[in-house]
Symmetry: C2
Subunit: 124 residues, 2 copies
DNA sequence: CCTTGACTTAGAGTTCGCTCGAAGCTGTAG
DNA sequence: CTACAGCTTCGAGCGAACTCTAAGTCAAGG
């Protein structure tokens, strides 16, 4: 698979794919005889995993740490797991914050909704 | 209340408070005779509200839009409400994404946990 | 009177995560 | 042969949201 197809299948831009490779988040891709990157479909699994980490707010620096451990092989699984568990912990906390902020937002919106023809004034 | 106390009570840094004032997210604060900012406690309510918007991922540009509408008085309540509803919609979608990513993360971690003395290899 | 600490301003600098531009190479279709 | 699409590298640029620096003012305590 060339980069153009990977763009379609991963949702990342070609610029971003090259950037990720440059910083080490994606492995250095094999090149064909025109030095064009040639990907194996297995890269999609890794990209999807990175996406999930990204969606959950993990900074690139930490994804790099994970990627580096992965490079080192099975011996690092304990550490990788610990890293993911710590992340999960933070995600859960963030989720709770989000939910409570959302609840407050609901209350606020309800305040606006109840305002019949400007009889009350929601001042924030 | 001077800025130092507001820092303690709001959790924002003095730099950030001044920055927010500069861009219009916080109203221009009254100054005492030494041109030091002097806040009314009511500012805390507004800051808490901004915090909630921030936590839920609203960009500053949109908070500014809200703040501007608020300045214009009760006539803009409909628009403010619409803005918050649109935001709520996005937050809910984001929350759903987060939850599904979290579930995937749980599965992944479980994969590591089940790995007894390196018998399986979690390759991402 | 002097020091200390909290404040003031304007503007520059930082971090993050991309995103883009320039200049050039390659393989295929017409 | 030529045109064109699609890739390559390298380095610069960008938008968001702060964060910090420099130089100065002011009020209270010793």
């Amino acid at each position: 698979m060339k980069i153009g197809e990977l763009v379609k299948r991963s949702g990342l831009s070609a610029h971003t794919i090259r950037y990720y490779e440059r910083i080490g988040l994606l492995p250095y891709a094999d090149r064909d005889r025109s030095s064009h990157r040639d990907y194996d479909t297995s890269i999609l699994v890794w990209i999807a995993f990175l996406e999930r980490l990204k969606v959950t707010g993990m900074p690139i620096s930490e994804m790099l740490r994970y990627a580096a451990l992965r490079q080192l092989g099975p011996a690092t699984e304990g550490e990788r797991r610990a890293l993911l568990e710590a992340h999960r912990h933070r995600v859960r906390a963030h989720l709770a914050n989000l939910q409570s902020a959302l609840a407050a937002l609901d209350t606020k919106i309800a305040g606006y909704s109840d305002d019949i023809a400007g009889t009350t004034h929601n001042d924030t």
